[in-house]
């Protein structure tokens, strides 16, 4: 391969990487906050699906992208509220509640999609790349980093904000204490449940946004199970990133890279590997990554355990 085409390949791969990592970054950042508060929300896959569908439906109906993203976040928020009622107030088993949310997400969106959209086949206008003046003209680097849409750029401030809130505010301190030793917060008179609710809801809104990205910036269409496991991958990203938003950003890029490679290799006629094998790449990476990461003890010690007041 000539140098030029090699650089082309790399430039495209890096650009696609960041774009494909974006939904993972949003969802995993939200999940990291949620898990820091001691709530394991494995329903993030379902939340992303609901976000993807609501975003698509809203944008389809109104023609307004911003409204679509807003609807994605709002629906993620509301779904997370349902989860929080079970996980925090009723103190149900969080795994079971999360599975229920996932099944609900898949069933509900598939049903609504078939009922209202499947015959139309019409897509929505997706978020356009926002070329940053001058920088986007740099050869190779420009197309890779500075011709992305707004949401892709937004991952950086979102991750920094999440990190700042968790580690540099009193709220974040309390969230971290709630995930580790909730009684210490309870005896000061603060409500453990309220903090857990807030973390779950932030996680839900970010998960919904990540989902909406799939239908409003990645594809222009909703298809059944469009998330295809991204929520679960986000869950393993959180573990791999040791519950840190900054870590989430880079680990998501790693996973995004496998999505990007997979797509590009499929498009390359010289690669004679069955496309199913390539498609499996991100999932295989997840399994290998989780086998390599032996830092379970970094997990918040009350992760997944409901808090009972004395």
């Amino acid at each position: 391969m000539q140098t030029a085409s090699m650089l082309d390949f790399l430039s495209t791969a890096v650009g696609a990487d960041w774009r494909l990592a974006t939904p993972l970054i949003f969802a995993a950042t939200g999940e990291a906050i949620c898990e820091r508060a001691g709530v394991l929300n494995i329903g993030v896959e379902g939340i992303m699906l609901i976000g993807a569908f609501s975003g698509f439906a809203t944008s389809h109906a109104t023609g307004d992208l911003a409204l679509g993203f807003g609807a994605g976040m709002a629906s993620g928020f509301l779904t997370a509220l349902v989860f929080a009622v079970f996980a925090v107030t009723i103190k149900a088993n969080q795994i079971v509640a999360g599975v229920a949310i996932n099944l609900l997400g898949l069933g509900l969106t598939s049903f609504l999609f078939r009922t209202y959209f499947i015959s139309t086949g019409r897509g929505v206008d997706i978020a356009r790349p926002l070329n940053i003046p001058f920088l986007s003209d740099i050869p190779y680097l420009g197309p890779a980093l500075f011709q992305q849409n707004l949401l892709v750029y937004a991952t950086i401030p979102v991750v920094i904000a999440a990190w700042g809130v968790l580690f540099r505010t009193s709220y974040g301190l309390t969230i971290r204490a709630v995930g580790e030793h909730p009684k210490a917060v309870d005896v000061t008179g603060k409500s453990v449940a309220l903090y857990r609710y807030s973390a779950v809801l932030i996680g839900g809104a970010l998960g919904g946004l990540g989902g909406a990205f799939l239908t409003l910036a990645h594809a222009n269409q909703f298809v059944e199970n469009i998330t295809s496991g991204r929520g679960f991958i986000a869950l393993s990203i959180v573990v791999f990133a040791r519950w840190s938003p900054i870590g989430v950003f880079f680990v998501s890029l790693l996973f995004g890279l496998f999505y990007a490679l997979q797509l590009q290799l499929q498009a390359d006629p010289n690669v004679r590997v069955p496309y199913q094998a390539l498609q499996a790449l991100p999932y295989l990476t997840t399994i290998v990554a989780l086998m390599l990461v032996r830092n379970r003890w970094d997990a918040p010690s009350m992760l997944g355990i409901p808090y009972w007041k004395a």
């Binding site: 580690f167 540099r168 505010t169 009193s170 709220y171 974040g172 301190l173 309390t174 971290r176 204490a177 580790e180 030793h181 009684k183 210490a184 917060v185 309870d186 005896v187 000061t188 008179g189 603060k190 918040p300 010690s301 004395a310």
Partner: protein
């Protein structure tokens, strides 16, 4: 202080029920300003509940609290904090994943306040820490601190938050004798600063040493209150238990016989793979109780588990009745005449969800008389369990109740009963009376002495020095995985023992020589 100064706190007729159990039944106490008030009672007497009510963590069903003459809003921790009432809980309220300073500002002020606005915290911590001589590193993570350090951090936090009334729930349960002395001194200093201290304990010697006034709780009621100087430990013990406590343990019967158990140059590792026991040797003879004293975490747990065959010895030999048992599986060791009462029985000695009957046969489920050809003999198991329960007065809802429904003390009694019923030649005991009340302690201590008089060999590992002094024939001191000294059970040498336990072997020898010198000096005069 015989007459309390104007009461700063009055708790009147506090009642609190949990289901069918009355944790507090019209309990009343009165505490004077600037005094050290001791609240004593057995486990489950309702002391912690009463204090949790004071701090607003629990809401009472009835009763009222007057603080400085004003009624306190009940069931609100914020109200307690606002009136500068702070509590050092038995299980510390410190998040291990945060630093000391972060714990101090946890839940203080508005949630959205940035943390860098709290940087004067370190300065204030340093100032308080100088004033009370409590060393605390503000930027250390709590998970890296020892229990004693955590307690200092917790006490200082209460002071940091400006508390004037300080409640300490069994503060000395986790401390070494030296640390205990320092804590008691600190309480005195706090009282001198016009701070009021309430401390919960069931160690009567501490209560006698430090408190101004004392109240005894039993079954949720306050049954006795007095100025400390007007009462005595015997009276307090009687009030706690509700009957006279026999302080005389059975006298020793025979002198030690032949060697039952011997350990030579034993080494083993802890859960993290680090050396925990580093070259321990001793022998135990028939009719002998050997104590192992030490601050927890110096290899005693690993020693007990290695002797019981639960973790492998990396080096050394263990012999029971002359037979080498160090390489054997725990299953094989179970079939030898050796019994093990583990540390924290509720966690390590029983299967919580199983009924008493099944817990009674945990080691012997597969052989006669409890099983024939792989089938359990239910009748034999039930009668055996019933016998254990009756012999040790285990308070239970019946032998088919899950063992976790019993109180900690009753679980302990049950495990002791089970292990003794195996008629061992050698018995390993790790923490016989920790966490159980006087009545139960008395019973299990009697039982251990009976075993000695039956010519059994017993190894008693304990952090409760009282227990060691009361029971042992010799006390070995363990420090940093090694045995660093041996003492007779002589209370006069408590200070020397304390030095050995904290690794000050040289200091300990100096002290012993000084005492010996003084004694011989007296003799020559």
């Amino acid at each position: 202080m015989s007459v309390p100064s104007a009461p700063i706190l009055q708790m009147e007729n506090i009642s609190k029920r949990f289901g069918r159990v009355a944790a507090n039944a019209a309990a009343s106490i009165e505490v004077g300003e600037g005094e050290i008030f001791a609240l004593v009672g057995e486990n489950g007497a309702g002391k912690s509940v009463l204090m949790s009510i004071l701090c607003g963590v629990l809401r009472p069903d009835a009763g009222r609290i007057l603080f400085k003459g004003q009624p306190l809003k009940l069931g609100s921790p914020l109200e307690a904090t606002r009136h500068r009432i702070g509590m050092v809980h038995q299980h510390f309220m410190l998040a291990p994943n945060l630093t000391v300073a972060e714990n101090y500002v946890l839940c203080q002020g508005s949630p959205l306040r940035p943390l860098w606005r709290t940087t004067d915290v370190a300065g204030r911590i340093a100032e308080l820490s100088r004033r009370y001589g409590l060393e605390v590193r503000p930027d250390a993570f709590v998970r890296d601190l020892s229990v004693g350090e955590r307690q200092r951090v917790e006490i200082l936090r209460i002071l940091f938050q400006g508390a004037e009334l300080i409640v300490l729930d069994e503060p000395t349960a986790v401390l070494t004798p030296g640390e205990t002395d320092r804590l008691l001194k600190l309480l005195r200093e706090l009282a001198r600063d016009r701070k009021t201290v309430i401390f919960i304990s069931h160690k009567l010697d501490e209560v006698m040493r430090v408190s101004d006034r004392v109240s005894v709780m039993r079954d949720g009621r306050v049954v006795f209150s007095a100025s400390t100087r007007d009462t005595n430990p015997r009276e307090l013990a009687r009030q706690m238990v509700g009957r006279d406590v026999p302080t005389d343990l059975p006298a020793r019967a025979a002198s030690p016989g032949q060697v039952v158990f011997s350990v030579e140059n034993l080494h083993c590792r802890n859960d993290l793979g680090l050396p925990a026991v580093r070259g321990v040797s001793f022998v135990i003879r028939q009719g002998e109780i050997i104590g192992v004293a030490g601050v927890s975490g110096n290899g005693q747990s690993e020693l007990a588990r290695a002797l019981a065959g639960l973790i492998p010895a990396t080096e050394g030999t263990i012999r029971l009745n002359g037979e080498e048992i160090s390489g054997l599986s725990s299953h094989a060791i179970n079939r030898r005449p050796i019994a093990h009462i583990p540390e924290d029985c509720a966690a390590n000695g029983v299967v919580p969800q199983l009924p008493l009957t099944e817990n009674a046969i945990l080691q012997r489920y597969d052989r006669a008389p409890f099983a024939t050809l792989g089938l359990l003999n239910v009748r034999a198991i039930e009668s055996h369990t019933q016998a254990l329960v009756e012999k040790f007065h285990v308070r239970t809802d019946g032998i088919h109740a899950p063992i976790q429904s019993l109180s900690g003390g009753n679980q302990q009694k049950f495990v002791v009963a089970r292990e003794l019923a195996r008629h061992p030649d050698f018995l390993i005991v790790n923490q016989l009376t920790r966490g159980i009340d006087i009545g139960a302690s008395e019973l299990v201590m009697q039982a251990i002495l009976e075993q000695r008089n039956l010519n059994k060999a017993i190894l008693l590992i304990s952090t409760e020095l009282e227990e060691l002094f009361a029971l042992c024939d010799r006390i070995l001191v363990m420090y940093d995985g090694r045995l660093v000294g041996e003492l007779p059970p002589d209370r006069g040498r408590l200070e020397e023992l304390g030095l050995l336990m904290t690794g000050e072997a040289i200091e300990a020898r100096r002290l012993r020589e000084a005492v010996a010198g003084a004694v011989s000096g007296d003799a020559t005069q």
